[in-house]
């Protein structure tokens, strides 16, 4: 449709040109056409003489020159803008501002096509490149937060390049990933165990972080993002559509002279918050108090302290006289530098358009040692032929990612706020690192400064490619045929420095005599390479015709085949990566080069026990195939009555043989009331559309071979082998189904200066894919079963409200976008499963009937007994009882809600003369967070972890009224103490983005022979208003390789990091 209009206009113009030459007595008029939205020049605008047949089009700078008769009127027409007319009255230069057309008229990218927003019946929100420009995020999806109704995003905190958790219209998945499907230029990104595969190692030092595969895509490549939310919009993605779909379209060229764009910025990252921890003196004084409380003698100045960190056999002995005062959090945080530069050239002719991007992005992050560098190139080219259009989009990205351990991974920011006690010095008196070799036992990971000697990195090369041929048979019929590839090559190298990995032979009489009584550094090396291919081929037929000027039918049908394969292989130094006694580790001789050939057993290894290869290796393969047919048929009567039927038949290799192929579909209808004759008299409300959709899509859940039964070795009995089943076969393992109803009203007031929509939705996820327990008596030998539970159902219901307004449109232009979503999530049914059946473990989050998914199952905290200082809970009958492991376990109840009731965002854009400003707030209300580390950081692990300063309010003597119980050296409470004491409101209002820019006046830039020069300053995560006492109310647990943990325990962060506040300044230059 779009193309037909453009062609008609162009043909018209060519004709006009030929006529113009024949006309005499004309004057030359030139001018510039700019957008009312951002005051930027618009290339390709048709400039026509009203009533005549002559005209021209604007060039890449929005400039035009045309010869007209005096007194003529010029028409300015461009798709997406309201046409404008100007009278030529002796002026030789015209400045024309085109208003952006009411949003309903714009075209929107949807699955396998585009639709006019006015005629759309599905719920699709869009975010355009403006939202991504000059925002210092490493990964583009982070910019969805606050911008789109119904989309909730949480992060893992300050690890640069880490993945976000995105939920469109709430949760609903348990065993399968809850992340939406991402589609980039027709390439359906593979969804691995966690969502969108990033292929990172799940057992290395980066185990506690999921990296974002989307961060391998340069955000400056992106033109628009369409967020498909309802059944009607997502049904065409069938078995992968249930969590919603995000379609990304990369930039394409526009007809005109080459337009060069440079964009350079630099800035600094800092932590959004720093929690206060005890200093060394305070920690020791509280430790003494705990000893006193426990009846233990106090440590004197000549005593030494022996620390057993509880997790490993670490034994640190530190004389009291050598106690230090180290702020380990400060030792691991920093202000990192960020640099971003990108270059784009685009342009073209009617026969060919192009857009070429190149960018470099370097982000140091806030954690020492952490960095993320990305270098990307992209070329998008479209060749238009008589019948056949060929387009090719190619991109190549290289990412260098330096990983640091966080959370439960030892040695990093997680250690700095836990087992790195403030009394520990960084160095021993002899200058060596404290807590490593001096421990003369296992490395503990308690010295994050020493840990920085390790070097963990990922090198990723990713190439996204699409080649498409579109055959235009008839004006209303075309086919397109494309091949898409997404190839990723990832190399991980984990080098464990000899500082932190070593072996002690002290006391080992079996060690070679020369090695006895020595601590030997044992550097280790693990390397892993991944080659991942995601190959799709898509073939579709598009039909679009209007009959009798009233009945329009648009239809799309096609098939798609998608094959994904991931091959891993690697090698590693044998033995414990934390080093070990008696030389049971393979090691890399520090005097030699870092290669697998130089890995050998430690010199003090016991040759009787360790005589095999010191290098271990592995390989693995993961694969899945999708074979699909899809269709969508739209009918409309005068654009007023709208109908849509869409669906997809999907075959998925990872589903069980009985349930491998299934249909998914949706129906939708719409009514543009404002197009009715009777509407002519309705004041103000110039646009009104009601639309309704219903349908079912599949929820993913395709870990490899879940359906397949397998067996393996189970040890021996009397020296004879034992075989046992390792997985129960389930040929019925398949998708979960989301049945979704959507009722929306789209509106436009005051000539569409105010537009928006209101939506009610109901998403019922049934046949949930769960890794669940069954009665132990059923098998005994297999603890878990992959099943689609016919009795399990989760319902998300909500209201979305979005409004965009042009508040002022004069010299000062002010626009506002506001959205808010109300959401309830409830597990409607879970069959006979007990409360601990879907025990995702962390934070005691559960799936319980009648409560939100991931609700906490905790004992209710009853404060501290003022007489004894003991921690109390309420039993189920409401009596205060002592908090013991047994009492806590037996008096748990459902409490809290990990899904905020309200989420949303509020964006304001201003332009005044050369100035522009953008301010975005996001907010969340009515949700809770269970701070899974607080139970250890506020008293629970007072002997072996550093403590938050809140612990200073502890109970000290009878009569003290406080929330912090008396201190003890017994650390067991830190493990079992799951009470409501650690459940906090997670409400926040965050000033997410502020950007202020100034564009130099035209006359100045023209003199400089450039088109545009803009300077700007951007601040990201500038301020957060919250009562949450932990690191960050937006940082949740997303890090587990098991999607079930991410779907159930996301509201229970553990030793998280703060977010990053970034301030950048930059320059934009176009010519």
């Amino acid at each position: 449709m779009n193309r037909t209009i453009t062609r008609a206009v162009l043909l018209c113009l060519i004709f006009c040109f030929s006529v113009t030459a024949l006309i005499a007595q004309t004057i030359k008029v030139s001018g510039e056409v700019v957008s009312g939205d951002d005051r930027q020049p618009i290339p390709g605008v048709a400039v026509r003489i009203k009533g005549g047949q002559t005209g021209t089009i604007t060039d890449g700078n929005g400039r035009f020159t045309v010869s007209v008769e005096p007194g003529a009127t010029l028409e300015f027409i461009s798709l997406g803008y309201t046409p404008e007319e100007k009278l030529v009255e002796g002026t030789s230069f015209l400045k024309v501002t085109l208003k952006v057309e009411a949003k309903q008229l714009k075209e929107v990218v949807i699955g396998y096509g585009k639709q006019e927003r006015r005629k759309m019946v599905g719920s699709v929100s869009t975010v355009n490149s403006k939202a991504l420009e000059n925002v210092p995020t490493a990964s583009f999806e982070q910019n969805l937060q606050g911008r789109v109704a119904g989309v909730q995003l949480s992060t893992q905190g300050g690890v640069v390049g880490s993945a976000s958790r995105i939920r469109i219209r709430g949760g609903g998945q348990i065993g399968g990933t809850g992340e939406p499907l991402f589609v980039i230029d027709g390439i359906i990104l593979d969804q691995g165990a966690n969502g969108t595969s990033d292929y990172s190692s799940r057992n290395g030092p980066g185990q506690a972080t999921n990296y974002s595969a989307l961060s391998y895509i340069d955000q400056s490549d992106i033109e628009t993002m369409s967020i498909l939310k309802d059944a009607s919009a997502t049904a065409i993605y069938g078995a992968r559509g249930a969590n919603g779909v995000v379609i990304i379209t990369t930039k394409s060229g526009k007809v005109g002279k080459p337009r060069y764009n440079f964009n350079v910025s630099t800035g600094v990252n800092s932590a959004t918050r720093k929690l206060d921890f005890l200093n060394g003196e305070e920690w020791f004084s509280l430790y003494q108090e705990a000893r006193q409380n426990d009846g233990l003698p106090l440590l004197g100045p000549n005593d030494a302290m022996r620390i057993n960190d509880g997790n490993q056999d670490a034994q640190i002995v530190l004389p009291v006289s050598q106690f230090a005062n180290t702020n380990w959090v400060d030792q691991t945080l920093r202000n990192g530098i960020i640099r971003d530069a990108n270059f784009n050239v685009s342009g073209g002719t009617e026969a060919q358009t192009y857009s070429i991007n190149a960018s470099a992005y370097q982000n140091e992050g806030i954690l020492k040692g952490n960095s993320f560098d990305r270098y990307a190139v992209r070329a998008n080219v479209l060749n238009k032929g008589k019948y056949v259009d060929i387009s090719y989009n190619n991109s190549l990205t290289y990412v260098k990612n330096k990983i640091v351990p966080v959370s439960f991974n030892p040695g990093g920011f997680g250690s700095a706020q836990s087992n790195s006690l403030p009394i520990f010095p960084i160095y021993n008196p002899d200058g060596s690192f404290f807590g490593t070799q001096a421990a003369q036992s296992f490395n503990t990971g308690i010295n994050p400064v020493a840990y920085a000697d390790n070097d963990f990195r990922q090198d990723v090369t990713r190439s996204l490619n699409m080649v498409r041929a579109t055959v235009n048979f008839l004006p209303y019929l075309k086919t397109s045929h494309s091949l898409q590839t997404d190839l990723t090559f990832l190399k991980e190298r984990f080098y464990y420095s000899g500082t932190n990995r070593y072996s002690s032979s002290i006391g080992n009489n079996n060690a070679p005599a020369a090695e006895r009584e020595k601590v030997t550094p044992l550097p280790g090396l693990d390397e892993r390479t991944v080659y991942a291919q995601n190959i799709l081929t898509t073939h579709q037929i598009d039909f679009n015709k209007t009959f009798k000027e009233k009945h329009t039918i648009t239809a799309t049908a096609g098939f798609e085949y998608n094959y994904v394969r991931q091959r891993d292989n690697g090698f590693f130094s044998q033995g414990n990566n934390f080093g070990g006694t008696r030389g049971q580790s393979g090691f890399l001789d520090p005097r030699q080069s870092i290669s697998s050939g130089n890995i050998r057993w430690a010199p003090n290894a016991d040759s009787l026990r360790f005589n095999g290869s010191a290098v271990g290796g592995y390989n693995s393969v993961v694969y899945r195939a999708f074979n699909s047919g899809f269709t969508r048929i739209n009918y409309d009567y005068e654009g007023r009555y709208l109908l849509e039927v869409s669906g997809r038949m999907d075959g998925v290799s990872n589903f069980g043989p009985n349930k491998r192929i299934a249909p998914f579909g949706a129906v939708a209808a719409g009514w543009v009331m404002s197009d009715e004759k009777f509407w002519a008299n309705v004041p103000l409300l110039n646009f009104s559309k009601i639309r309704v959709s219903y349908g079912g899509q599949g929820g993913p859940g395709y870990a490899l071979n879940e359906w397949n039964g397998s067996y393996g070795n189970g040890g021996t009995y009397l020296g004879n082998p034992i075989l046992q089943p390792t997985r129960i076969p389930n040929p019925d393992v398949s998708w979960s189904t989301v049945y979704q109803t959507d009722i929306s009203w789209d509106y436009g007031f005051n000539k569409s200066r105010i537009t928006g929509s209101v939506t009610w939705f109901n998403r019922d996820t049934r046949n949930l894919h769960i890794t669940r327990s069954f009665q132990q008596s059923a098998y005994g030998y297999a603890a878990q079963l992959y099943i689609n539970d016919p009795e399990a159902s989760i319902v998300n219901r909500g209201l979305e409200f979005a409004i965009s307004s042009i508040n002022m449109d004069g010299k000062l232009r002010w626009t506002t976008d506001f959205n808010i979503t109300y959401l309830t999530n409830e597990v409607k049914s879970i069959g006979a499963l007990g409360p601990d059946a879907i025990n995702a473990g962390p934070g005691d989050a559960r799936i319980l009937e009648g409560y939100p998914q991931g609700v906490w199952y905790l004992a209710e905290y009853a404060g501290v007994d003022a007489q004894t200082g003991n921690e109390m809970i309420y039993d189920l009958a409401g009596n205060k009882i002592l908090a013991t492991n047994d009492n806590v376990r037996n008096n748990r109840k459902a409490v809290g809600n990990p899904f905020p009731k309200f989420t949303g965002g509020f964006a304001n854009n201003f332009t005044y003369k050369g100035f522009d400003a953008q301010i975005l707030f996001s907010f969340s209300l009515g949700g809770q967070i269970y701070d899974d580390a607080a139970k250890r950081q506020i008293g629970g692990y007072s002997y072996i972890w550093n403590q938050r300063r809140t612990v200073l309010n502890r109970w000290q003597k009878p009569g003290d009224v406080t929330d912090v119980p008396r201190l003890t050296t017994n650390t067991s409470a830190g493990d079992w103490n799951n009470t409501t004491r650690w459940l906090y409101d997670a409400d926040f209002l965050r000033l997410r983005t502020v950007q202020i820019g100034y564009t130099l006046p035209k006359n100045l830039t023209t003199r400089m022979k450039i088109e545009k020069l803009r300077v700007f300053i951007t601040a990201h995560n500038l301020a957060t208003f919250t009562n949450y006492p932990g690191w960050d109310p937006e940082v949740t647990r997303v890090v587990e390789s098991d999607p079930q943990v991410s779907n159930v325990s996301n509201g229970s962060p553990y030793l998280s990091t703060p977010q990053v506040r970034t301030t950048t300044i930059g320059v934009q230059l176009s010519f």
Partner: protein, 463 residues
């Protein structure tokens, strides 16, 4: 050009209809796993599955430990409770679904049963080729193991048959389940139904098993176990007949006490891997070098005072039961310290540990015979004295013995001979006795079903 275009159109339409209906494109067989369908295609594999069931059945210490602590031989108050985790719940029967001690009984028990069901299913469906004898033997062994685990689970988690036959018993599992079947909640059967299933399994095993069977179970072991089951139901007529059959025809004798040079003549002195019939052991936990199930048992059994597998005998256990210091009964004790007696019958010698032994058959025969009037009181006393003499105790002389007096004496002797063994709990339950103030007929005396069971069925009847 139009020609090419129409070709593309035709090709697209054709591909659309062919490819989208093609399941083969998505039927990818796993290349990195052993398909479970192959597990029972071979008789040796089936044997290997059965080995797993044996391995669990022989790793019986959770059953033993729980049964002993639920009974009254063990002075559960003597241990330092704070140090002992789940043991702290036994003195006052404060059980919860998280109790690790009884949890292991349930889990290991059903783990064994699950494996036996694979074997039974394979034999019944003849998924592998073998001689009829092999089929019989494999199925018979599996049935025996299933029945014994069922009996232990019922004794620990259910009320006595003799008081509450219609109370909840075990969750009966006799089939190899598909994943969908496993997800269906199943309730507990009654105690009577449970016993019926156990007896049916043992009777079938008796028909299938050979007279002797190397390290595996044989017909006589199944019969002896059946005698135990019948006796615990107070089904005296059958209990007498079966026990009498084992004693008369089983060929078991007591070991010549003085001839055992390896150890002071303890009751648990078996040191031979296969099952000789002269040591009074009928079914036992086997020790062989490198695969010491009994050593594992001792190591994980209750430790006290720095000794493996030692525990304090409750002060209420009458000394008279154990005779004087020269008797075998007495030698089960380690000694007295501060007036406290300790067992040494599980002392850390690498020896077999009997699960069912000949003495029990004598006591069962004597009491069941008397209860049914099949034998006279003197015949019963003969059985008692036979055991006493073999264990170094003097013969009993009872003036004008009545049935009641002799039965009392049988029960006393039984307790002395099998002190610290699970048999005591079985007796307490059979006789509906009270332990630490809680009647064995009260569900308070029972451990809770573990959380692993509740997880799959929160509506299951909890104790």
């Amino acid at each position: 050009m139009k020609n090419i275009a129409s070709k593309i159109l035709i090709l697209s339409a054709f591909s659309f209809f062919t490819l989208t209906s093609c399941e083969e494109l998505v039927d990818i067989k796993p290349i990195d796993e052993l398909p479970i369908g192959d597990l029972t295609k071979d008789s040796i594999n089936v044997q290997y599955v059965l080995n797993g069931a044996y391995n669990l059945n022989q790793g019986m210490f959770p059953i033993w430990r729980t049964a002993v602590m639920l009974g009254d031989d063990f002075d559960v108050t003597s241990i330092a409770l704070k140090e002992q985790g789940d043991y702290q719940f036994f003195p006052e029967f404060r059980f919860g679904p998280f109790n690790g001690v009884s949890d292991a009984v349930w889990n290991d028990g059903y783990n064994t049963i699950g494996r036996t069901n694979i074997v039974i299913d394979a034999v019944e469906k003849k998924t592998f080729k073998a001689s009829q004898n092999t089929y019989n033997r494999l199925k018979g062994e599996a049935l025996f193991l299933r029945a014994t685990q069922g009996f232990f689970i019922t004794q620990i988690f259910a009320l006595p048959y003799t008081s509450s036959p219609s109370a909840p018993g075990m969750v009966i599992r006799t089939k190899l389940l598909t994943a969908d079947e496993a997800a269906v909640p199943v309730q507990r059967s009654t105690v009577a139904e449970t016993y019926a299933q156990i007896e049916a399994d043992l009777n079938e095993a008796i028909n299938l098993l050979p007279e002797s069977n190397g390290t595996g179970v044989n017909k006589w072991m199944a019969k002896a176990f059946l005698a135990r089951v019948q006796f615990n139901k107070n089904d005296y007529a059958n209990a007498y007949a079966t026990a009498n059959d084992v004693i008369t025809n089983g060929g078991y004798t007591f070991a010549p006490v003085e001839g055992d040079s390896l150890t002071p003549s303890l009751p648990f002195s078996q040191s031979i891997t296969t099952h000789p019939k002269n040591v009074g052991f009928i079914y036992d936990i086997i020790n062989i070098a490198g695969s010491d199930k009994s050593g594992d048992f001792r190591g994980r059994f209750y430790n006290n005072q720095g000794f493996n597998a030692n525990f304090t005998i409750h002060p209420d256990v009458p000394s008279a039961l154990l005779g004087d210091t020269g008797t075998q009964f007495y030698k089960q004790l380690y000694g007295r310290r501060n007036n406290v007696r300790w067992t040494q019958k599980y002392k850390a010698f690498p020896r077999n540990i009997p699960v069912i032994r000949l003495v029990e058959m004598y006591y069962n025969r004597a009491e069941a015979g008397l209860q049914t009037g099949t034998i006279t009181v003197n015949q019963a006393i003969d059985d008692l004295n036979f055991v006493r003499n073999a264990n170094g105790l003097d013969s009993l002389v009872i003036e004008n013995p009545t049935q009641a007096v002799v039965i009392e004496q049988i029960r006393n002797d039984r307790r002395g001979a099998m002190i610290g063994e699970p048999d005591r709990l079985f007796e307490l339950k059979r006789l509906n006795a009270t332990v630490r103030g809680v009647p064995t007929t009260d569900t308070k005396s029972l451990p809770k079903l573990p959380v692993a069971e509740i997880n799959g069925n929160r509506f299951i009847q909890q104790n």
